[in-house]
């Protein structure tokens, strides 16, 4: 990268120092060195003009209008070189500032007008004035002027076209044209700031400094180290070693410090406020001068030279040298922030731009030293200066080289950056666009420099190409480079696959008599499975970036599944017995509501610890993302140190395993097993003729009595053992059931052989359901399930608690969810007859059919069922009910499988009433409350129609009230309503009444019709 740069030019101590680069780069690697080769070294540190320039640099480009350092003389430069020249000739500073008139350092014109680089035109012009001038203009001493050093570019023409005085920094900030270093073009175009190589963007050096200064404000409390400090800094911009080395005084560092602050955003954010502090610390700045670069609190002080200084400060002295490590300057960070990802001031800019380039560079590490592995070019790329943090992150005190990157950086930083990354993509270092785009109207504030002209959305940066595999150390969430599955997945996968085909294979082998062909085929299959497992292990990578998780797999057909973190609905960690034996787990990432397996992410067999970490990480990031809405927040917000607080709501007591005996499904387990066994036998009986014959022979030979006993005894034994089987199978399924609350989710874990852990976000839980069957009701036990949006088919995921006594379950509900306080309103008595008819009627019918057909067995069976149906119907009626307690709507129904659904009011979508003919006669209707969760709708069967309408109006008045018949306003129009007529708005017997006049498309006065029904409020049918 730096190869294109020649060997260093004239030796310069500073340069030498920088030559080593932050990590001890060897000379010749930095652009500045190249520059030095091209341009003579800048004049010495204490250049009066430099001071001015530094001031200019400090205050940034003069903006239209009066910048802080506006030239009191009011001379403004609009644009261009000619102004600069004019000014020059007039002995004024580039911005029209008249030397000696105080304020404002004078710009030095960049060498592009032919002067030797580094030569100070001002000096040339009116040397006499300058020196004097610069004193006053030195606000605090040294002006970081090294802008002089030629910086980037010969092209440094007048720093800014046109804008005016930079920040009015007290004295020396006359009209300085600050502009970002341009690439030699007219001042208007902020060229890429630190520019790599020759093209150096225009006037960075001085301008850079000035800009920086402007941006960052005067060095805090300290003298601005003038150019000297910038010594390094000068070169900063283009790396040209012009900057006189020496200790730059404070200013440089200040800039540096400020620069250092930049990356704040990158990392766990140092708060902006720390800027000044860091600046203060930047004392250690390479230049060594006590720089108090004070960064503007948030201020972006004069940058240009400072940039170098900053860099230096940031990176620390060239390795081995003194220098403060880079302390992230918060302001700098803020700078970048505005630019979107680009945080940090210049360094980023440089870095950013640099980084933008590099996509191709590959892992930063390859870069070697220099800006710390920006690796993640995340922000880098397109965002101009999207620099993100990676840039010389603060941190290291002292030289730390690029790895960690803080070495003596400043000039090098820029140079390095430039060298490394080339010109900022998109042509602008952060802030450059700013200068053009923003004039004085944006104020001089440093921040304004880096405003959002780039239009980069804050906080997000397009991922750079290298993101996938590089470690982004500066991100608030580190990007995990591609991780692999556990090596044991090589074994687990094939074993699982083998299991399914093992039985047929074995049978085939046995039956086939161990045919060598079969054996070979079996062996080949096993080998292929193992190879497949190996390939999967090798090729599957998963990675969590700051806003998504990526799973890449496949060897021949590659597949990459990307799941945005915000879309993750839940993360399940499951481990079957086999997995647990090997200590691995399966992580299942559910990406969308009711998604099918093809849309989810599944990592088969990662280490158990890794699975837990992954789950925690995903959920935590997702929580942060959804809360803050951006990928990076305060970088330093420590994602949950360790484990987020976990509340245990429930742990399975031993006695609860016995409730398995009450569950109908588990009770039938032995019969299910029996059926499976019989099925297997049947399938293999054909092959095992010998065995069958033996069995048949044995049956024939045995005593009848014994056979009968066995035939009766075995089923009876099975029936008696049903509870035992039930408890055993229930225990296996629900072993160690725990319900915990963690990070806004409920986590339910259970299972003995297969440990299943289900995470349900609380914000998706819209209610709960309590289910029981008649057996459980004898012990007053219920089962708790959650009503969750978007679970789709996977209803078993919603199980929150195993079967348990009602009081305990209620207490868990109260703690984990919300309790339902209201009662349940009874349904009218007419519902009882309906329920009875429905439970008994069909059997009466079949009995009648049996009688008609003379099938006694049918008659008997029907009679039995009809008799049983009576209490069933009564029970069904008694379970009917609905209610509302102000926050939750509850509906209950059913007997054999009774369920009470409690749904929060906000989850109610709408209402549906259905009424059959018979219901119309009784004034009943089925009210269904439609919910966007769970089963979609819960029906209150056979509720009184007027009562249910009133109920709905209570729950959602805005929806229902507009459609209610107004009481008392309808004329007393006696309709053909008899006592038995239902309260339906319109009965079939009055079809043509009110509707007659209405034509199909004209709305009619609604109240006219059915007035008869609406006249007197009907009392609830419960009274009947």
């Amino acid at each position: 990268m730096n190869d294109e740069h020649e060997s260093p030019g004239p030796p310069d101590p500073e340069r030498e120092r920088w030559a080593r680069g932050p990590a001890g780069h060897t000379a010749g690697r930095y652009p500045y060195q190249w520059r030095q080769a091209q341009e003579p070294a800048a004049p010495e540190p204490d250049r009066p003009q430099d001071a001015a320039v530094s001031e200019r640099a400090r205050w940034g480009p003069p903006q239209r209008g009066q910048g802080p350092g506006a030239d009191p003389s009011g001379v403004r430069h609009e644009h261009g070189m000619r102004d600069a020249l004019r000014n020059e000739s007039a002995g004024r500073g580039p911005q029209g500032h008249v030397p000696g008139q105080g304020s404002g350092p004078v710009w030095e014109r960049r060498p592009e007008d032919g002067r030797p680089a580094g030569e100070n035109p001002v000096q040339d012009r009116s040397g006499a004035q300058r020196p004097s001038q610069e004193e006053p203009s030195e606000p605090q001493g040294a002006t970081p002027h090294e802008a002089r050093p030629e910086g980037p570019g010969a092209g440094m023409t007048t720093p800014f076209a046109g804008t005016d005085a930079g920040p009015a920094d007290a004295p020396g900030h006359g009209s300085t044209r600050w502009g970002p270093p341009r690439d030699g073009a007219d001042g208007g175009t902020p060229g890429p700031r630190p520019q790599s190589g020759p093209e150096v963007p225009g006037a960075y050096p001085q301008d850079a400094w000035a800009y920086e200064r402007a941006r960052w404000g005067p060095p805090q409390g300290g003298a601005v180290t003038g150019p000297s400090s910038s010594g390094g800094s000068t070169s900063r911009s283009d790396g040209v070693g012009a900057a006189p080395g020496p200790a730059g005084p404070a200013y440089g560092q200040d800039a540096a410090a400020s620069e250092r602050a930049l990356p704040t955003s990158q990392g766990p954010g140092s708060t902006q406020d720390s800027g000044p502090d860091s600046r203060a610390e930047s004392g250690a700045h390479s230049a060594g001068a006590g720089d108090k670069a004070e960064g503007p609190a948030g201020g972006q002080g004069p940058y240009p030279q400072d940039a170098w200084a900053y860099e230096r400060a940031r990176w620390g002295p060239p390795q081995g040298g003194p220098g403060s490590g880079s302390v992230p300057h918060p302001e700098i960070a803020s700078r970048g922030d505005e630019v979107g990802a680009a945080s940090g001031a210049r360094p980023q800019d440089a870095a950013a731009s640099e980084r933008a380039l590099p996509a191709s560079q590959g892992p930063v590490s390859a870069q070697g030293n220099g800006p710390p592995p920006r690796g993640e070019s995340t922000s880098r790329s397109d965002v101009a200066g999207g620099a993100s943090g990676a840039y010389p992150r603060e941190a290291a005190e002292g030289p730390v080289g690029p790895a960690g990157g803080q070495g003596p950086y400043p000039q090098d930083a820029w140079a390095y950056e430039r060298a490394r990354w080339g010109p900022p993509q998109g042509g602008a270092y952060p802030g450059q666009v700013q200068w053009q785009a923003q004039g004085p109207q944006n104020g001089w504030g440093p921040q304004s420099q880096w405003g959002n002209a780039h239009g980069v959305p804050e906080g997000h940066h397009p991922p750079g190409p290298r993101e996938w595999w590089t470690e982004e150390a500066s991100q608030p969430f580190t990007s995990e480079s591609g991780r692999r599955l556990s090596p044991r997945s090589m074994v687990v996968g094939p074993i699982n696959q083998l299991r399914s085909i093992l039985l047929p294979i074995l049978i085939g082998l046995v039956i086939g008599g161990f045919n060598p062909w079969l054996l070979a085929a079996t062996g080949a299959t096993v080998v292929m499975l193992l190879v497949g497992g190996f390939v999967t292990w090798q090729t599957l990578r998963y990675e969590i970036t700051d806003d998504r998780i990526e799973i890449r797999k496949g060897l021949i057909r590659r597949e990459r599944r990307t799941i945005p973190l915000e879309r993750i609905r839940g993360v399940d960690v499951t481990s079957s017995l086999l997995h647990r034996m090997l200590g691995v787990s399966v992580v299942h990432i559910e990406a969308a509501a009711g998604s099918m397996a093809t849309e989810d992410g599944k990592l088969d067999a990662v280490d158990a610890a890794e699975a837990d970490r992954l789950r925690g990480e995903l959920l935590r990031r997702r929580a942060v993302l959804t809360e803050t809405g951006e990928a990076r927040t305060e970088g330093d917000e420590e994602p949950a140190a360790a484990e987020p607080e976990t509340v245990t709501y429930f742990e399975m007591p031993r006695s609860w395993y016995l409730f398995g005996a009450l569950s109908l499904a588990h009770l039938l387990t032995p019969f299910a097993l029996l059926a499976t066994a019989i099925g297997l036998l049947q399938q293999s009986a054909a092959q095992m003729e010998a065995a069958t014959d033996t069995v048949v022979g044995w049956i024939d030979a045995t005593d009848r009595a014994l056979l009968t006993t066995l035939a009766i005894g075995i089923p009876v034994a099975l029936v008696l053992l049903m509870p035992v089987f039930a408890v055993v199978s229930y225990t296996v399924t629900n072993w160690g059931f725990t319900l915990k609350g963690r990070e806004g989710s409920l986590v339910a874990e259970r299972g003995l052989l297969t440990r299943r852990s289900v995470t349900l976000e609380k914000r998706r839980i819209r209610g709960h359901e309590l289910q029981d069957n008649p057996l459980e009701r004898t012990r007053s036990a219920v089962r708790l399930r959650a009503i969750v949006t978007g679970l789709g088919e996977v209803a078993t995921r919603a199980v929150l608690l195993p079967t348990g006594p009602r009081p305990q379950v209620a207490s868990v509900v109260e703690r984990a969810l919300d309790r339902y306080d209201g009662g349940l309103r009874r349904h009218p008595r007419a519902a009882l007859s309906r329920r009875l008819i429905r439970s008994v009627g069909p059997f009466l019918l079949t009995g009648a059919v049996g009688v008609a057909l003379d099938w006694n067995w049918l008659v008997i069976a029907s009679a039995v069922m009809a008799v049983l149906g009576v209490p069933l119907g009564i029970d069904r009626y008694r379970s009917l009910g609905h209610g509302y307690d102000g926050a939750y709507v509850s509906v209950r129904s059913g007997s054999l499988q009774r369920g009470q659904a409690v749904v929060e009011r906000s989850a109610v979508i709408g209402w549906t009433w259905t009424q059959t003919l018979f219901q119309r006669r009784s004034g009943l209707a089925n009210l269904q409350v439609t919910v966007g969760a769970g089963a979609g709708g819960y029906t209150a069967q056979d509720a009184s129609l007027p009562g249910s309408v009133a109920f709905a109006a209570d729950v959602t008045p805005a929806m229902v009230r507009p459609f209610l018949v107004e009481r008392g306003t309808s004329s007393a129009q006696p309709g053909p309503s008899g006592a038995g007529v239902s309260s339906a708005p319109e009965g079939p017997e009055s079809p043509t009444g009110p509707e007659g006049p209405s034509n199909p498309t004209a709305p009619d006065a609604p109240e006219r019709r059915d007035a008869h029904d609406g006249e007197s409020p009907r009392t609830a049918d419960e009274d009947r």
Partner: protein, 196 residues
């Protein structure tokens, strides 16, 4: 097998009545929706019904023929002899249905799109009233089957996050259905927050 908790709609004597959200005895009534579907929908329903009855008639005739002619032992004699009654009875029933049901439906089917809510009523013997809020709408479809195209009517279907909360309006005038679906879609997009 007792249901618990017991219904507590009536407070114990002497006990303060629990604050019911809806008082007992509070009733209300829904007025029917205002708008009617297009008159041509009667034609659609009639034709559909004719086709349906004809198909069923064929099926019933086949069954009757089987009952009459197949010598299966479990068929009683009276059934075999009178099997031809079945198609005739069904035919009469079908004719009655065709005559009565479409216009009955036309009277019952109503719809209304209010500011925020879609209110529909549908059915003939069994009726259904449905309220669907516009801000929960996720999909708006308007479709035309072949028969509907002949009569220039269309069906508007509105879907929400809940399958049960989806509403269908049959027999709308085609142009009206199109306008309505566009308007609903636009409104739903602006009003909608989280449609679950």
């Amino acid at each position: 097998m007792l249901n618990s908790p017991a219904h507590d709609d009536r407070p114990e004597p002497g006990e303060e009545p629990r604050e019911p959200r809806t008082e007992e005895g509070h009733t209300a009534e829904l007025r029917p929706p205002l708008r009617r579907v297009s008159g041509r929908a009667v034609g659609v329903w009639t034709v559909r019904m004719v086709i349906g009855v004809a198909l069923n008639l064929v099926f019933v005739s086949v069954v009757a023929a089987m009952l009459a002619n197949l010598p299966l032992p479990w068929i009683p004699d009276w059934l075999s002899e009178n099997a031809r009654v079945l198609p005739i009875a069904y035919g009469i029933y079908g004719l009655l249905k065709i005559a009565v049901v479409p216009s009955w439906r036309y009277r019952v089917h109503r719809w209304e799109v209010g500011e925020d809510v879609i209110y529909t009523r549908a059915g003939w013997i069994a009726r259904a009233w449905q309220l669907v809020p516009v801000n929960r709408i996720q999909t708006v479809d308007h479709t035309q089957a072949m028969l509907e195209r002949v009569f220039d009517v269309a069906t508007l279907q509105v879907q929400t996050a809940s399958y049960a909360g989806s509403s269908t309006i049959e027999g709308l005038d085609a142009e009206e259905a199109r306008v309505l679906s566009e308007e609903l879609a636009a409104r739903a997009a602006t009003l909608r927050d989280d449609a679950t």
